[in-house]
Each structure stands twice: as C-alpha cells, then as structure tokens.
C-alpha cells in the first residue's frame, strides 16, 4: 500500500506543480466566463443590422396606412411613378430598396414585393413581414368594428407552473427546464472529465513505457499498484482542479454578473439579479430550513414574472444534496472504470499513433451514453430507456446524472452504483492483466489478439 502512495504522490505532485496545470486552472474559468460573455454580447449587440434604410414605398392599398409609423431604422419615401426609374435608383444605391404592396387582400401570397440590391437577411424579411401583417391585422379588426384598446385587452398569455407532490404530501414548485439544464450540464462535465483525465492516465502509462522507466519501477512495485497509484493520483488532480474551478467560477460569475447587471438600466433586472443572488446564496440554508426561500420568490411574482424570479423557487427546491452526491459518486465511479481502460491502452501501445485502434471501443459507450442523456433521458427521465441505460455501468455515469435532478428512487441509485463498482472491480482486474504484460512488451504494434492473449 505504501507503494501505491509513493506512485500517487508522484503523479499528483508532478501534475499539480506543472505550470500548464496552474495556468489552465486559473485560465479555464476565465475563458469559460469570457466565452459566455462574448456570446451574449455578440447575440445582443452586434447581431442586428443598425443601418438606417431609405426605402421607396408604393402602397396600392391606402387603407393599410403603411406610411404611418414605419418600422425602426426605415425611412419611407414615396416611390416615383415610373417603375423603371424606381428600380434604377435601387440599383444605383440612391435608395436601399423598394417595397411594393399590392392592392390586394394581404392574406394572399405575394401580396408585397421588396426590391433590393443586396439580398436582405432572414431577420429583415421576417421584420417587414410581421410589420405588414400587424398593419393588416389592425385593418381587419377595424373592419370588424373592434377598437385598438379592445384588441389589446383580448390578447391572452399563459404560463404553466409546475408543482411537484412529494411522497410526504408536500407540494413544491419545480421547473423541468431547470432540471434538464442542470442534469445536462452535469452529464456534459462528467463526459468531458472522463476523457480529459482518462487520457491523462493513458499518456502517463505510455510515457513510462516509452521512456523505459517502467522496468525499474515494476522491479519494486507490482504493476497493479503502479496502475492504481496512477489512476488515483490523476483522480486527485481532477478533483483538485474541480474544486479550484468551482471556487473560481462561483467567485467570477457572481462578481461579474453583479457588476455587469447592476450598472445596466431598469429596476426589474436589478431586482431579478438581487433575488437570484439571494436565492443562490441562501440555497444551503433554504434547503436545510425546508423551503422558506419560497417567500423570496413569491414577493416578486406578479403578472410579469421575469426569468430569474421564475427559477428562484424551483432552484431552492432542487434536491441539492442528492444531485451533488450522485454527481460525485458517479463521476468518481465512471472515471475509475474508464481510466482503467485508458491505462491498459497506454500500457499496450508503443507510440501515440497506435492508440487510435484501441480507443474506439472505449469511447463508443461514453459517446453513446451522452447521446442517450441528450435525447431519451431529457425527454423521459423516468422512462424505461432512461432507466435501462442508467443501470448499465458503461453509460450509467452519464445517464444517471441527467436523471438525478428529477429525483431517482434510492433503490435505483444504490443498484446502479453497486453495478458500477462491480464493473469497475472487474475491469481493473482485466486491465491490470493487460497492463502487467503490456508495459514490458516492446516492438511490434500490439493487436487485439495480443491483448486477448495477455488477458488469459
């Protein structure tokens, strides 16, 4: 056991002291937040076409009163009576375009034509279309004898509130969207981490083999201990990075969002952020005190519930302890299972380019699990398919985590985790057999047949 620790220590320390590791640990959350911020910025700020467009308007249907209140960024000029000169002006750039609305019922297809020199964007076309439709609708309503104020009051809007009834009879507000989002995010993290840290184990085994260090090491350590020390060492690196990221990311997200949104305009946004922060910081206590945080959300609820407020109560009602416990257990279990495969591959091959042929069968179930998580598990988290794949050890680390926020019975969790542990023990045993022989086998590229021989 002492040897496992010596190996563990080396694997852990050389990685954690590595400059790239330190850099990435601090940079990754920054990159993530930066990416997030940039996406939002691009989507909100620069995506729109802000040019003011001067457009000829020919309105053969004056009852629509199109020239009144043109859409934003449009200036309408009456079109010259000569069609050819109108088109010539569009071509020479005197005007941006020419919008010709026929004297027909607007419900008819092709009742309007838009001439432009450059192809208008989908967004612009949609904008113009709905603007014309709006005008036409008003005209139609007026024909039916309805006033504008009557039309507005006739508009309806409906939000469905989800309330879950627990076994004990408590009724709590919940949000399927929120649960799906959290489940998916966690599954994605597990998926990425298994790849990142699994290949770290693989490269480490390969480095020792190609550098010919391994023979010295196995003269004092059992190959199995070497493999376990390596797997556990890298797992500790992963958890360290994980903790560092959580601390950094939480700090950054709160810092930036508070800064960003407080300086923004509008009381509602500010209130929402305030409430969001209260709800999130109060999460632990709220959970412990049995959902008193609901009041915070209730106070903000009205006809117009904004986004943050909409998630506040469901957020406080999530089974946090269960989600975190499931995530950690299945992350560790899944990582251990897959990293033992990766270790065996690293030990079997002689160079990086030989890795590919053995990676396929290892990555396939992982990718498959992720696909299942995205489709079946999100649509029907309690369906038969989701249940099945959350039991199979190769896919359960991902699928079970998606199901976790929706509440999984303890019996299912225990069975699935038990199977995962069993599979892990079996796979570590098999992998160590490949590892044991692989690390000392040099020369030709190993084949599947070789691996099978080593297994026996």
């Amino acid at each position: 056991m002492k040897n496992i620790f010596v190996i563990f220590k080396r694997e852990y320390l050389t990685r954690v002291k590595n400059k790239t590791f330190i850099l990435m640990t601090f940079l990754a959350p920054l990159l993530m937040v930066g990416f997030y911020a940039a996406t939002i910025y691009i989507a909100t700020e620069t995506g729109d076409d802000n040019r003011t467009k001067t457009v000829y308007l020919t309105d053969y249907n004056p009852s629509l009163m199109l020239s009144n209140n043109p859409p934003a960024n449009y200036v309408f000029l009456p079109a010259p009576s000569n069609e050819d000169s109108a088109i010539a002006d569009v071509k020479s750039g005197v005007v941006f375009g020419w919008l010709k609305v026929e004297d027909r019922d607007v419900r008819v297809i092709d009742s309007a034509t838009y001439y432009t020199a450059e192809t208008p964007s989908l967004v612009e076309m949609e904008g113009l279309k709905s603007w014309i439709e709006g005008k036409a609708n008003k005209h139609q309503f007026a024909k039916l004898g309805l006033r504008e104020s009557q039309i507005d009051s006739a508009q309806s809007r409906c939000d469905i509130l989800t309330k879950e009834v627990s076994n004990s009879g408590d009724v709590q507000e919940s949000s399927s969207a929120l649960k799906s989002g959290i489940g998916f995010a966690l599954a994605f993290m597990i998926y990425i981490f298994i790849f990142v840290y699994g290949s770290m184990v693989m490269r480490s085994a390969m480095e020792e083999k190609t550098n010919r260090i391994v023979e010295v090491i196995v003269s004092s350590v059992k190959p199995f201990h070497l493999m376990m020390g390596k797997i556990l060492g890298v797992a500790a690196v992963g958890l360290t990075q994980f903790v560092a990221w959580i601390v950094l990311a939480v700090g950054l997200v709160f810092g930036i969002s508070a800064l960003f949104l407080n300086s923004g305009n509008g009381m509602s946004t500010q209130e929402a952020v305030q409430k969001g922060i209260e709800a999130r910081t109060g999460m632990a206590t709220v959970g412990a005190m049995g959902g008193d945080g609901a009041q915070v959300a209730e106070s903000g609820s009205g006809v117009a519930r904004d986004l943050a407020a909409e998630f506040t109560e469901p957020l406080s009602n999530l089974p946090y302890f269960e989600i975190i416990a499931v995530f950690l257990l299945f992350f560790v279990g899944g990582y251990l299972l897959y990293s033992s495969f990766f270790a065996a591959i690293g030990a079997a091959v002689n160079q990086e380019s030989d890795v590919q042929q053995f990676m396929m069968p290892v990555t396939l179930p992982l990718v498959f699990g992720f696909v299942i998580a995205q489709t079946v598990a999100l649509k029907a988290p309690h369906g038969a398919m989701a249940k099945l794949f959350s039991m199979i050890p190769l896919t359960s680390p991902i699928v079970m985590v998606v199901r976790a926020p929706f509440g999984v019975p303890f019996g299912e969790l225990a069975l699935s985790f038990g199977l995962l542990v069993l599979m892990f023990v079996l796979m570590v045993w098999l992998s160590s057999r490949i590892y044991r022989i692989g690390i000392l086998s040099y020369g030709k590229k190993p084949t599947w047949k070789d691996l099978w021989k080593w297994l026996r």
């Binding site: 010596v6 050389t14 550098n211 010295v216 003269s219 004092s220």
Partner: protein, 308 residues
Amino acid sequence: MSTVIEAIDVCKTFGEQRVSKNISLAVREGSIYGLLGPNGAGKTTLIRMLSTITQPDSGEIRFRGDALKEVHAHQMGYMPEERGLYKKMTVAEQLLFFAELRGLSNRDAKAAVKHWLQRLDMMDWARKKVEEISKGMAQKVQFVSCVLHNPKLLILDEPFSGFDPVNADLIKDLILELKRGGTSVIFSTHRMDNVESLCDHLAIIHKGEKVLDGSVSEIRRNHFTGMYDVGYHEEVVWDLGEAAPLSMEKNSDGKVVYRFQTSEVFTPEHLLSAAMLKGKLVHYTEHIPSIHEIFVDTVSKGGAPIAL
C-alpha cells in the same frame, strides 16, 4: 559464506520458446557475479526473474534463504538494459521518488539523495530537469537511482552498454566500492572487457542454458590447456620435430614469443630445457586462456555443458 540469491532449476517459457532451461546459480554475499552470454541467450529473462519483475514457470528463487517475494525488492537495486528517467522531473525529485519506492522513509530518502549527489559532485544539478542535463549526467543519475537505498543485492543488466567510457569506468569503481561496503552484485554482459577485472564468479548462458559456471580463477585453471609461451629478444630456429611452436608473435617491444603445446611426452620441463639452449630466454609462462577465449570456445562448441 552464505548466498544472497540463489536460483534452483529455474525455467521460463514464452509461447513456444524456452528462454530459461533449468538454470541454477548461487551468488555469494559480498561477491560480484557475472552473467555472460551472447545477445538473445536469455540473460535478461533470468535477471528479470531475479529482480521479481517476472516469475519463473517452474523452479525456485531464494533470497538469503527465503523464497523470493516482493518485499525483498526493497533490498535489491535494479538497473535494466533499457533505461530511462522522467524527463520533466528534476534530478533530486526523481532520485527521491526511486528511493521512496525502494522503501526508504522520506527523511532517509532525502539524506541518501544528498549523500549520493555530493559523492558524485552533482549538487549543482539537483534542481535541473532531466531533459536539461547532458546524457552522461543522466547516466550517472540512472545508476545512482538504483543504489540510493544501499541494497544488499545490486542487479545490473548490461551495465556498461550505452555508457560513455568515462562513466563506464566510474561505474566500475562504484561497483567495487559497493562491494567493499558489503553489497553483492550480479550483472550481465555480452562483452568481456570488464568481466575479468570485476567478477569473482561467473556463469556463461547460451541458448537459455547455463553452460559454464565457477569462480574466475577456477574457470581459468580448469581451462588449462597445457600451452606455454617462451620469449627471446630475437627470432630463433626450432628443430624439435613433432613439438613445433603453435604460433609466433612479435611484441611491440621487439620480444618474440613462441607458443608450445606441452603433453605428457613433451613436458613443460622438456620445453624449458630445450628453450634455454636456443638463446637468451627472457620469457617463460604458462598460457592461461582469457575469459574471452573461454567464452568464444564454449559458445562455438554449441553450448554443450562443460562439467567442472
């Protein structure tokens, strides 16, 4: 004297190939044991079994009287033929790691690393990464990494291959120094250069079998061929009929040496008295074959076991 490691009827097969065939050997405490054999003779396989990396299919290996187990690895040092270091680790970190792997406590390991780095004048390099130091320097680190824990038995697979001549000499000195400190050494080689000056005992391995084994002096005595060398300052004419010289050699110092085969009829005494009559005799010795000659002779005879 007791044995530090002993192999009894050890066999190892890889697939169809029998790589070790009933090999038995015993290394005495405080001695240096040489394993000689051409490439592919099965030396590395034998050495890996002795250093607990692989297990024999049959037979037994005993370490100081007990069946060889993993725990004994802490009393052994091992340097394989194919060797390497972690490129990204510093010299000191690396040595510390190997010392701890061999069972030293962190404190003892640090002391040992310091001792050896000072011993080899390498303190200035302690904080350098292996990828930053010269190849010769890395070779020294490699050797130190397997002796840090002051092993009872040091196992070296082709220790002189891949080392530059200066380092090879240094390692030879270190091996002798360790021997004086009570460490037993077993090493394999396919070259004879260092065998005669280093080994107390040797075995020749050929095609997976031990074909010869004994103390160096014993082997040479047993390979006494009855040949004698006589030398003069100038060439002489021989008229001994049947007993003509086997060879003649002119040394660089001008000495002319003739080699004779003696027998029960033509005894060394006959040769001496005849030789004295031919001129001013300056050289008369029994020709003792070198280990190299014995090795070549043994291996070329197809490795038939030679009874001693």
